[in-house]
Each structure stands twice: as C-alpha cells, then as structure tokens.
Symmetry: C2
Subunit: 360 residues, 2 copies
C-alpha cells in the first residue's frame, strides 16, 4: 500500500553503534510494520552483519555498505568535515543527496552531522545559518514541537517564521496533527512584549498569508501545558529551555526516588504504586520521543540521541519514514518561497528598513 522507501542509517553512530542500530530496525518493524521500508546500513560490515543476524534481519530488509571510517563522537565539526569523507556518517548522508535514500538517521556526533549535512545537502531555508533542531516535548495533550533547540544562536524575524513553517509541516507529517497551532515563545502574551525580532515575526505570521494557524505569543509555562502544537523560538533560548527542563525533570525524579526509598513504609508504598509510576515515567521517557529532525536542508536528516536505546532508535526511524513519505518538503518549500517574496516586498519589509531606503 505505502510507497516503497529506502532509509539510510549511520550504523556506527552513537554510543553503541550497530548493537543499537540493528535492534532499532527490528523494533521499528515490530511496532510499525515497516511495509515497503528498506534500510541501507553504513559502516563496518562484519560488525553490522553480526548484529543483523542476532536480530533476524536479512538482506531483503537491510543493505550493508561497508566502510572502515568512522567520525568520532568528540570530533570537532570542522575536522569531521575535512577528514570525514567516506565515513559511515558521510556516506549515510550522501545516499540522501544522490536521491537513493529518502532520509537518513544518525545517532552520531551532532556537530559533525550538522556540518556534513549542510555541506552535502545545502540549506533550503535561505535565512538559516545552519539546520534547526526540533524537540518533541511531552505534554498532557501529546507532543509539542519546539524549535530551534540548539543550532541558530541569533535568530531574526525571518528565521523565526521559517521555524514556524517547518515546525508546522513537521507536526502534520510526524504527529498527524491536521492543522497545528503555532505560538512564539515570549515573556508575556501581550502584543507589545518582548524584543523586536519576536514582535516582527508575529506580525509576519499574522499578516503573511502563509495559511498557518498562528495562535500568538506563549510563555515558558505553555510548553509543557501543550497550549500550542508548535513553539517557535531562537536556538539560544530554545536550547536553554530544553536543557533547563531536562535538569528540572531529573531533579524531581531524584527527589522522588529519595522519598520513595527513605523508609520501609515508603518503600512498601512505592512497591504498590510501581506499575502506575512506571507507566508515568514512560510518558516522559526521552526514548519515546527520540528523533529530532534537522530542518531547513534539501533532504531529510534525523538525529537520534547518542545514548538512545533500540526502542529510541526505532522511534527516530519512524520520524524519518513519516517525513520522507509525507509532502513535508513540498509544503515547506512553497511557504519558504512565499516568505522570500514577502521579505522582498518593500511594504511588508518596511518595519525592518528605514522608509527612505524602501521607497527607492
């Protein structure tokens, strides 16, 4: 039924390489059927084949492309770009560039993945310095997409609008939300709050005719509430918000563990409540929402956490498959084109330029 598709995997990436990538493929197929989905695994053939055998994966599902070369997890992006050619990471991306594969997944070095993806695939969003990373944030309503969470340190209004366009298409393609709502992260919900970049981005989203469901400004508390489907923010604030949240979740988990093991009575209580508590922790398990696409490239690249489990890697594969099968690239392409045209229009862009110049 579904169209056949090829997913390129960096089998050597991450903390565990093929011993998580092969079980990740198995896990994806178990959960999602994987009909019509085949994989190219790039890396050490012997190691990959050994893990494939353990997982019962055969050549009709996995194509192995041997390479000895690996980009180390701590390698600097510039170095990885210079000497990464022919590595499992590089070859995995090149399979997308050549059109052979519909998407690539890697749990490898984030900086290297970003740099080599940008080098090989080039940016499709003209305003972006580098790809934007999306976090799928658990909320009582499901998942909210937050972007950018780490790549673009200073984001002007046009970049924020690009994040909105890409985040919206991502929510539809991957999380099946028909008409995602979009909020811009700010320090208050009133129109005059925040700095020039967020106010101008809000104006463009309201008046730009992108066909997006723009909700307005949202605050930090709104992320975990799930007030909107897509939260747009610059990469500096987004990265800090995400990591702050991770720190708080870990702190509370630590306190809870301490409390539930502090006495015999509380240990007994914890034992009784354990199945419910386990279900709860699954809701905020980062592996369940693993797979952060790097958006804004001419091709689909998905980053898995370096330390993801096989279930986590399987979740990242799912993100790649859903994006590759959707009309994400076309939808985004059309709206990015619209933005470019809008910004060239002197009337629309007047808020950013002195009037004298835009009249010329």
């Amino acid at each position: 039924m579904s169209s056949p598709i090829l997913i390129s995997l960096d089998a050597m990436g991450g903390d565990h390489g093929p011993s998580v990538v092969a079980p990740g493929v198995r896990d994806y197929r178990k959960r999602h059927g994987g009909e019509g989905v085949r994989f190219i695994l790039h890396g050490d053939e012997t190691a990959i084949r050994a893990e494939m055998a353990k997982c019962g994966l055969t050549d009709d599902v996995c194509i192995v492309r041997h390479t000895d070369k690996v980009v180390a997890m701590d390698e600097k992006p510039a170095q990885a770009m210079r000497r990464g050619k022919g590595s499992s990471l590089w070859n995995a991306i090149e399979a997308v560039k050549s059109g052979e594969a519909g998407a690539v997944v890697s749990a490898g070095n984030t900086g290297a993945l970003m740099a080599i993806s940008k080098l090989l695939l080039r940016m499709s969003a003209p305003g972006l310095e580098r790809p934007a990373i999306v976090a799928s944030w658990p909320t009582p309503k499901g998942v909210t997409a937050v972007l950018d969470v780490g790549a673009n340190i200073e984001s002007d209004a046009a970049q924020l609008v690009e994040f909105a366009i890409m985040g919206e298409a991502f929510m539809t393609a991957v999380h099946g939300v028909a008409r995602p709502t979009i909020g811009i992260l700010n320090v208050g919900s009133e129109d005059m709050k925040g700095h020039e970049e967020v106010r101008e981005a809000a104006r463009l989203l309201r008046e730009g005719g992108f066909g997006l469901d723009y909700f307005g400004f949202v605050e930090g508390t709104d992320i975990a509430k799930g007030t909107v489907d897509v939260v747009v923010t610059d990469g500096f604030t987004g990265n800090i918000a995400l990591k702050t949240a991770e720190g708080v979740a870990k702190f509370i988990a630590g306190l809870m563990k301490e409390a539930l093991t502090s006495s015999v009575t509380s240990k007994l209580g914890a034992l009784l409540a354990m199945p419910a508590l386990r279900r709860m922790s699954q809701k905020i398990d980062p592996n369940a929402n693993n797979g952060g696409p790097l958006l804004g490239l001419n091709g689909i690249v998905v980053k898995s956490h370096g330390g993801a489990t096989s279930a986590g890697f399987g979740a990242a594969i799912r993100v790649a498959v859903e994006l590759a099968r959707s009309d994400y690239m076309e939808k985004v392409g059309a709206n990015l084109q619209r933005l470019t045209t809008l910004l060239e229009d002197p009337i629309v862009s007047s808020a950013e330029e002195p009037v004298g110049e835009s009249i010329q």
Copy 2:
C-alpha cells in the same frame, strides 16, 4: 544583638492583602525571632488592625499607616505611576526612599512595583533599564540564584556583569554563601559558544578584577543541578527558563497525582509513601523560596508572589531583613563603580569598539 531595623510592608498587595501580610509577620517572627525588627504596614487601617489582632501583633511590632488608595493587581505600570501616589504600594516604597525603612516588601502588581520603585528610588546600576529580578531556584545543594528572570529583555555584556555582581552579593547576604560561584547561562560550556554578549561578559568577569569567583559558562541542566551558586542570564532567557521549569514541574506533579490515584493498589501505596512525598514536595514548594528582590535600585525592594501563603510572605520578609542588615548595598556599589571605570578604559573596552575610536 542585631541592629534595630524597620521593614516597610505594602499591606494591601497580593491576592489576599492584610489577611496574608499580618500572618506573614507573625510567621516570620515565629521562625526567625525577629529581634530588633519592626514593621510599618501601609493600607486600610481597620482591615490591618483586625488582622493584627487575630495574629496577636501589637503596636510595638507593627506601625500602621493608613491609606485608602490601592494599586490594582491588573493596573498597567504607566497608569500606576500616574495615579498611584499615596497608595499603599507607593507609600511603602517611599518609606525606603526617605530612609525611615531599611527595605520594603510587596506582594502587589509586579509591573507597578518595578515602575514606582524605579521612579522613587532610581537605578544604582547605570546600565540597567529596570530592576533585575532574582529567582531562588531549589537544587540538591540548596538554592541557586538565577537572574535576571524577567525585567530586562535585551542585556548587553555590561548588564550581565551587573547581574553577576548583584547576584553574588545576594547569595552571601540572604543564603549565607561565603564565596558564591558564578556561571553565565549559555548553550555550551566551551569558550567560543554563544553570542557576543555572553562571551564579552565572560571576558569581563575573568579579567575585570571584581574579586568574584567566576566558574565559566553553564548550561540549562546546570541550574537544577546547583553547579554554581549564581546563574547569570538576560531577562528574556531567564524568564523563559523559569516559566518553562514551572510548567515542567507542574506537568510531572500532575502525572504523579494521576499515577498515584489510578488504582486502589496505587492509592494504598501513595498513602504509605505520603509523609515522604510530602517532605519532598516541601523542597520544591515555591513558598519556601518566596521573595525575589528587585536588584539595581538605590534601596531594597522585595517582591512576594501575589498568591503567596503567610509562610511565603514570611519568607519574603526574611529576604528583606537579611539584605537590609548585610553590607549588600556597599559591596555591590563598589563593584558597580569598578565596572563603570573598566568600561571607560579604552584597553578593556576595546572588544566592543573599533580600535581607531578607542585609541583617540
């Protein structure tokens, strides 16, 4: 033993007015003795005296200054400045300006408190647009001060250094940390990460001779870990980090409640573990760390949460007393002066100006 001191209270501020302010005074005295500390309560005399009577507070502890006028919780700052004169909020701050009181505490309208404090007391930190707000963030090690969490949207390097100076003195005065460590919030710990403002602030803190214990860049996860005693950030990022954390904590608390009431067995488990869980939730109870000083003014102003309990208001009084009794103002004054001198020095400020200009 301790020197006598007068604390000015906006008795009408917050969601509950005198019915929390008077019990707050009683709570403070019960926990901290309050020897040598007297209070001026500004607001409706009849209402205040009724609450004082309930709490057993007499005239030798509380001086009542009547006024009918109150700034509403939803009044715009500009409006509050125009027509707030003679209100309980205004008079409470004026008692600090005149030198009668050593500090003021209000649970009232934050924007109005900021605006009227700035109007009456004036800024002591020359680079700041408005006062910086400090959040006392619970960590496994105790408390980390995070500032600014909401006032200054765009902060240059000099402002970030001012936050470091004020946050450090705050941690010593209020939390008794002898030599607080300071980190600047960033997207990574390497020196070249982040935007120009944070890198330049780091350089000033390293090389400026402020006598501060500068640790380096910290990430979002480091806040709740307690990696440093003071986390410095611009008001935009700080506000979003704080509110994101609040949202996440609330989300996890909701999941936990849901899990612990999901079945008879888990309810029984929750019952057994309840004392331990209650002790845990006290550690992250916002009332325990209530009282965010507005820093950078010529006078000590402490903001209590509008919805604080009497224990929470008592905690805010403690912050005001500790700041007023310490050498906070002198210590900060000396280092702010040092910063001003440094920034006027062409060699030190060369990173911010073209060389040609700074040589002239």
